[in-house]
Amino acid sequence: MNTKNFVTVATVALGTATLTVTIFLGATIEAENDALPLAPTIARPELVASGVKMTLARSTEGEFRAGATPAFDLQAVNTRAERTEVRVRIAMTAVAPSSPLSRMVVIPMELWREERALVLGPNETKTFFFNATTNLPANKVFSVTMLAVDSPATATDSANKGTGLALNPPPLFLSRMGIEGLTFSTVPPVVALASLAVPRSAE
C-alpha cells in the first residue's frame, strides 16, 4: 500500500470510528440514563375489604374550587355471592404549599371524615354518596382516602382542625393508612418550569 492509499484508509477509518462511537455511546448513555418507560400508575385506586371492591370519584364534573363543598361517589362492588357489610372511613386532608426552604411539606391537616357501614346484596354494585360538609380552603392540596375500619371510631383525634397547624397529628400507622382515592388542588397554576430557568445574562 502506498502512502496516499494509507492516508485515505486511515482518515476514513478514523472518521468512521469517531462517528460510530459518538452515536452509539450517546445513545447508550441515554439508555442507561433511562429512556425506559415508567410502568403506568393505577388509574382507579381500589380498596378491597371483605370481598368488596371500592373506588372513589367526584360526584360532579369539573374542578373543585375554593369555597366549594366537595362531594364524592364511592362505588362498591360485592364480589361475594352473599350479603356483605363493610365499614369504611372516607377522610379528606389538606396541605398548604410549604416554604420554599422547607425540606418537606407539613403534615396534612384532616378537614373532614365520615365512617359508614356499607351493606351490599349478593354480587351487588352500588354507589354511595359522601358530602364533605366543609368548604374547601384556597391554596391547598387535598387528598381523599378510603380505609376499612373494624368498628365505629370512639375517640376524636381531629382537635387540630382549622387551627392551621397540625399539632399532635394522628400517627401514621400502617394499620390506619388509607388508600388515596382522589387528589385535587385549589392552588393557582404555577408558571411552567422552563420559564423559570436561570437566564445566562444573570450570571
Binding site: V12, A13, P169
Partner: protein, 383 residues
C-alpha cells in the same frame, strides 16, 4: 465510484468503534445492572453531592462551613447549583477547606436538599458505574417549581458524570431520606407504602418485592414510626447496632418550665419548636415502636435523646449524621444547636462512648426547616 481504500477504511473504523464500545462495558438490552444500596456506615466518605441555592444561604452557610471544612483532601464534593453565580457565592462563604469541589450547573431551579433526590446504588464491579436510583416524581412538584427542578437533578448528575454514574428512574414514589441502609438491611418508613399502594403497586407484597429487587438488601418496612424521614429518628452504625431517638431521654435536658405534658402544650418559644416540645405518650410510643422493631430484627438498640416539636416536623435530633470509619477509626459529623447545650453534650457523650470521634456541625439555622446535616448531603461513593 467508491475506491477500495474507503471501503477498507470504513471496515477498519467500524472494527475500532466496536472495540471501544465494548470496553465501556455497556449492556445492550433492558436495564443495566446495579449493585445494592449504599450503606450509611462503613468505609470512608469519598464522593458527595450537595446543593447550593442562594436563597438558602442563611440556613446552610454554617452547616457547609463546619462540615466541608472537616473533610479530608481526597473527598470530592459535587456542588449542584442553578448557575455560575450561585457556585461563586458558595465558594465565597466557605472558610478553609481541604476537600475538592466540582460544580454542576443545572440551569433550572432547585431546593437545597440533596438527600431526598436519589439513592446511590453501588457499582456491580470496579469498572461499572454507580447508579442513582431516582424517584418517579417529587411531592408537590406541580405547585413547587424548585421541587420540580429537583426531579431533574438525578438525570443532570448522570449526564455530567457519565460514564462513571448513571441514573435509573424508579416506578415508585419516595424520598431518598425514606430509607436507612446498613450492610445487611434497609429500613423503610411507612409513608413510602402509603404513597405507592394502589398508585404504583397493587399490594404491600408487590411493594416489598419491588424494593427488595431494586435495593438488593433485606427490606424492613417500619410498622409504626414518626411521620418523618428515617434519618431524623434512627441511625445505623453497623455491627447490628441501631441508634433510635428517645423523647423521654431528651426531656431530661429540657427545662421543666417548658416541657409541657400530655394535656398542655410545652412552651412554643423553646428552641423554635412550633407548638413547643412534644413529650406526649402518643409520640413517645412511635419512637419506642421503631426501637422494638429493630430489636426484634436482631439489633442492639441504643437510645439517643431527641426533642420533636408538636408540629411533627421540627426536631432537635442527633441522629441526622454522616458516618465514616475504617479500621479502628470512626468519625461522626454531628449536628449541634446553639441554645441546647445540655442536650448537645448528652448526645455527644453517647457517640463518644460508641467509639466515635466527633466533628461538630452547627445546624442551628437549618433544623427549623424540617431537616439537618444528613438531609443536605448525599453520598455517591464510599471506599
Amino acid at each position: 465510484m467508491i475506491g477500495w481504500q474507503k471501503v477498507l477504511g470504513v471496515i477498519l473504523g467500524l472494527l475500532a468503534a466496536s472495540a471501544i464500545l465494548s470496553l465501556t462495558g455497556n449492556t445492550s438490552k433492558g436495564r443495566p445492572k446495579s449493585g445494592s444500596i449504599l450503606p450509611e456506615c462503613g468505609g470512608r466518605l469519598r464522593e458527595l453531592v450537595i446543593h447550593y441555592e442562594p436563597s438558602a444561604k442563611p440556613i446552610v452557610a454554617m452547616v457547609y462551613r463546619d462540615f466541608l471544612g472537616a473533610l479530608a483532601r481526597d473527598v470530592v464534593v459535587h456542588v449542584v447549583c442553578p448557575g455560575n453565580a450561585a457556585y461563586e457565592e458558595f465558594r465565597s462563604l466557605l472558610g478553609a477547606t481541604k476537600c475538592q469541589f466540582s460544580p454542576m450547573l443545572t440551569r433550572h431551579p432547585i431546593t437545597t436538599w440533596s438527600r431526598d433526590r436519589w439513592v446511590a446504588l453501588a457499582p456491580v464491579s470496579k469498572s461499572a458505574p454507580a447508579t442513582l436510583w431516582v424517584p418517579r416524581g417529587e411531592v408537590a412538584e406541580e405547585i413547587w417549581p424548585a421541587r420540580a427542578g429537583d426531579e431533574r437533578v438525578g438525570q443532570d448528575l448522570a449526564w455530567a458524570l457519565a460514564p462513571l454514574v448513571r441514573a435509573h428512574r424508579s416506578d415508585l414514589y419516595f424520598d431518598g431520606g425514606d430509607f436507612l441502609a446498613d450492610d445487611k438491611r434497609v429500613f423503610i418508613v411507612p409513608r413510602v407504602l402509603q404513597r405507592n399502594l394502589q398508585r404504583t403497586v397493587s399490594s404491600r407484597e408487590v411493594f416489598l418485592a419491588t424494593l427488595q429487587a431494586e435495593l438488593q438488601r433485606e427490606v424492613i418496612l417500619l410498622n409504626e414510626a414518626p411521620d418523618h424521614h428515617a434519618g431524623m429518628f434512627m441511625a445505623s452504625v453497623g455491627d447490628n447496632v441501631m441508634l433510635v431517638g428517645d423523647p423521654r431521654l431528651g426531656m431530661e435536658y429540657v427545662p421543666e418550665t417548658v416541657r409541657g405534658h400530655a394535656g398542655k402544650a410545652g412552651d412554643p418559644g423553646y428552641m423554635n419548636l412550633p407548638g413547643g416540645p412534644d413529650f406526649t405518650p402518643a409520640t413517645q410510643r412511635l419512637f419506642d415502636a421503631v426501637a422494638a422493631q429493630c430489636s426484634t430484627a436482631g439489633y442492639h438498640v441504643v437510645r439517643m435523646p431527641i426533642v420533636p416539636g408538636r408540629d411533627g416536623r421540627t426536631y432537635l435530633t442527633y441522629l441526622n449524621v454522616l458516618l465514616e470509619g475504617t479500621g479502628g477509626q470512626r468519625v461522626v459529623y454531628l449536628p449541634y444547636y446553639r441554645g441546647a447545650e445540655a442536650l448537645n453534650a448528652a448526645a455527644q457523650k453517647i457517640w463518644i462512648d460508641l467509639g466515635y470521634s466527633v466533628r461538630l456541625v452547627d445546624c442551628t439555622a437549618v433544623y427549623p426547616h424540617y431537616g439537618c446535616l444528613h438531609c443536605l448531603v448525599n453520598v455517591l461513593r464510599r471506599t
